[in-house]
Structures are given as C-alpha cells and as structure tokens.
C-alpha cells in the first residue's frame, strides 16, 4: 500500500505530496477515508466543516497547531503531549463523529 519500503522514499513522498499527519490535519482526513470510505476531496471538506475551517487551513501548520491544541487531538509539539495516543484518538472520534475501534475497546475496559 501507499509509499513503500525502499530507503528514504517515504520521507520524500510525505514532504512532496502528503498532508503532514498530526503536523496538520492529515491524520483526520485519513480517519475519514478509513471509516467512511470518503474520497480525498470529500474527506477534506468533512474535516474542515467539523473544525469550522476552510480547506486551506487544513495544511496550515500555524492554524492547525492551535486547533489541535484547543481540541486535545495531539500534535508534534511537546506542550500538547498530554493529549496524545488514546486520549487524542478519543477526542478525534468525538470531534469527527466516527467510531474508532481501539477507542471503543479502551472505553469498555475503562468502565468495566
């Protein structure tokens, strides 16, 4: 799938053609492709609407850093580390109105 396993190809392709994961809104768009089978344009529109942003904002690091911090959905900045991993995914699930299986299982374990 996707980018491959030859040395160095992933970094080059991420920088040249991809959204940038938790640096921007790339992971949020990927969640929509996986959970709702949305094509790229529709997934971006959906995420932008949920975050009350325009499409350009989704790959704007300055704006997305603030949005990610405010919503507790993790980022690459150490100050935002309190919401990383399962805590961030829990907030992403609520924010995007999607079911993330790992989050649902974690909630079940948490509440017995």
């Amino acid at each position: 799938m996707g980018t491959g396993d030859s040395h160095g190809v992933a970094i080059a392709q991420i920088v040249s053609a991809c959204m940038g994961g938790i640096r921007t809104a790339g992971d949020l768009v990927a969640w929509m492709q996986l959970t709702r089978r949305m094509r790229i344009d529709k997934a971006k529109e959906y995420v932008a609407k949920k975050l009350n942003l325009n499409l350009q904002n989704l790959t704007d690091e300055t704006i997305m850093s603030k949005v990610r911090s405010e919503n507790g959905i993790g980022s690459v900045i150490p100050d935002h580390v309190e919401y990383m991993g399962m805590a961030a995914k829990s907030n992403i699930s609520r924010l995007l109105d999607i079911t993330i299986h790992s989050v649902e299982l974690y909630k079940r374990h948490l509440h017995g």
Binding site: M1, G2, M19, I22, D27
Partner: protein, 354 residues
C-alpha cells in the same frame, strides 16, 4: 540536446532530450491504454508529465491544496527493521520507530507488521502481534494499520500443506490443479481471518491485505472472500487492499467473483471487485520495467491509476514503493524520482493517497 536527467527502472540515471522524454511518456501511456483497454493520457496530461520531469529542481511537489494522505507497507518500521529488502537496522524498537514516523516524519497513517510479512507466519506469532499492536496503539494518534501479505504461494509445498498445482498442470491434470489452488485459497482465507480477529480483540484500527494476488486469481478470490468475512463479523474494522501488480494473473483462470472473471483484471476492474467485497481503501499497483525509463514507467502507472480513480467509489491509493508506481526497482531510489512519481500520481493519476 540531452539535458533532462531521469532514472531508469533499475535506478541508473540516463539523459533525455525533451523530444525523447515526450516520446517515452506517450509510449508508456499507450502501453497501459492498450493493455487495460482504457483511455490514454490526454495531450494536456502528457505535457504536464513532461513538465514534471523537465523541472530543474532536485525535487518537485504537488500544488498547495492538492495534498493527499499517505499509507504504507512498512515505511514506519524502516528505521528499526533490518532485512535484505529494506530497513536501516538502527537499534531502536518498533515502538520508537513508529512514534518517530508519526511525530518527526509526520505520516498520516502508519503500518505495523511482522518482519516475515505474510499472514501465515503471523498466525504462528499471534501473541507477539497482539501485544505489539496493543502496546503501540495506546500511544499513536494517527491510524495504526496492521499489514501483511496474503502470499498464497506459501501454502504450497515445500513451505505449506498443499501440493504444488503446477506439477499437475504439467501432467495435464488441470482439474486437480484448479482444486489445489482453491484449497490453498481457503486455508489462506482462514489464516487471514484468524489474524484479523485476534488483532480486533486488542483494538485493531484497520487491517491491510498488502500485495494481494501475488499468486494469481485464486489468491485474489480468497482475499475478496476474507474481506467479506471481516466486514460482516468484525464491526468498525476498516480494510485496505493493495495489489501485487496491474494485472491479475490467471494461474487458475476460471474463478469469478460476483459473476466477474478475476483473471486478467486491471486496476479499474480490480477496484470495483474490492469495493463490492467491502474494502475501504484500495491500493493500485503498477509494476515497473527495469529496462525502461522512469518517464515510461510512470506514464503507465499514471494511466492505470487515473482509470481506477475515475471508476472507483472508494479512496484509491497509488502504491509507490520499490518497483511500483513508476518507481525504480532499487533499494535507493533517487529523491527526485520519488517526488516526481508522487506528484504525477496525485495530480494526473487523481489518487486519493499514496
């Protein structure tokens, strides 16, 4: 004047004049169009591809706003893994490697897998796979996708329980050869489902059937059936399916899925079958010819990818690793080549992701 430097399918650099570049792109597109019975690239798309290769910079990128998301078949584990085909063998854990991929390289999703990257060996190490997945997924924010290859060839002698069907074909015992392939496909189907179910129990966020149909149409047939199993019995488990090549090889030849013959299918037909089975993201794989130029190989890849993307109801990711998606068949692809393939597959191939 030969002033455009491009790669060849074996990774070596070659020089082209603009006319030679144009002609190779046309040839590549025509080859894909002829084989797949699909539209070739338009004049504007060919000129766009010529422009991508002619840009003087070392690297290129998509226009702002056209970015897509990235999936992978082990890219997040390359730092920690060391094996002949890929990996840097840095003495860190897979856990550390994946967190670096998420927070330093900034991939949109990340793949996790077992070094022996097929479902059959994962079954034997399922306890390790479960704890590996569970521990890492607690700390990752991006989707963590468990990947492996169906790799039906592993179910034949000497590594598997099924006699090699091709021994029977050479004796003209065709029905026996067909039957053995179908048996292997069913065992593979059971193994993949077993691994998926075990990982689902520890919260698996998505599963990837990578390099599907490497053993031909019977493998594709078995993989489509296990996707149905997963989607019907494991709620909220997304499935990715990446292919082994642009054509499903007819090692069996007679198998059908929902009335369609699988042998000989090209990406625009493969994606339709995958979507019907329940696949959420489909990976187009177009193989590179090591004796041809990257412009030729990329033109082929872009032509097939565009046809699949136009046909598809689900997201299409272009496989762009070693020897696929226009990329050379080499461990160390030139950066300029990697970025040119990425830009073309997204901007002309209309891929929803890489």
């Amino acid at each position: 004047m030969k002033d455009i430097v491009v790669s060849r399918g074996d990774g070596n650099l070659i020089e082209f004049s603009e006319d030679e570049l144009y002609k190779d792109i046309v040839k590549g597109s025509e080859n894909a169009a002829q084989k797949g019975k699909i539209d070739g690239l338009s004049k504007a798309e060919i000129n766009h591809l010529v422009d991508i290769f002619s840009q003087p910079g070392k690297t290129v990128s998509v226009d702002p706003g056209k970015e897509v998301v990235v999936s992978d078949d082990g890219a997040g584990l390359m730092a920690s893994w060391g094996r002949p085909s890929a990996g840097h063998a840095i003495p860190i854990s897979d856990h550390q490697s994946i967190l670096m991929y998420e927070r330093v390289y900034c991939g949109d999703t990340c793949g996790l897998g077992f070094p022996d990257y097929s479902y059959k060996p994962v079954k034997s190490a399922i306890g390790y796979a479960r704890s590996h997945y569970k521990t890492i997924s607690m700390l990752t924010t991006i989707p963590l996708i468990y990947g492996s290859q169906p790799n039906m060839g592993m179910y034949y002698h000497p590594t598997g329980p099924i006699p090699t069907p091709f021994d029977y074909f050479t004796k003209y015992e065709f029905e026996k050869g067909f039957q053995l392939q179908e048996e292997a496909a069913q065992i593979m189907r059971d193994d993949i489902y077993y691994v998926a179910e075990q990982l689902y129990e520890v919260g698996c966020e998505a599963i990837n059937l990578d390099t599907t149909a490497s053993a031909g149409d019977a493998e594709f047939w078995g993989a489509l059936q296990v996707v149905e199993d997963i989607k019907s019995r494991l709620p909220d488990m997304p499935v990715e399916m990446g292919m082994a090549g642009e054509e499903v090889i007819g090692m069996h030849g007679k198998l059908t899925y929902q009335g369609e013959r699988l042998a000989g299918m090209y990406p625009h037909q493969q994606v339709e079958m995958a979507a019907k089975a329940g696949v959420d993201i489909f990976g187009v794989a177009v193989n590179s010819d090591t004796g041809r130029s990257t412009p030729y190989n990329l033109a082929r890849a872009v032509t097939f990818t565009k046809a699949a993307a136009e046909q598809s109801s689900i997201p299409v990711h272009a496989n762009s690793g070693m020897g696929v998606g226009g990329m050379p068949m080499t461990l160390l692809p030139p950066i300029g080549c990697s970025t040119r393939c990425a830009k073309a597959l997204v901007e002309i191939g209309k891929a929803d992701g890489l």
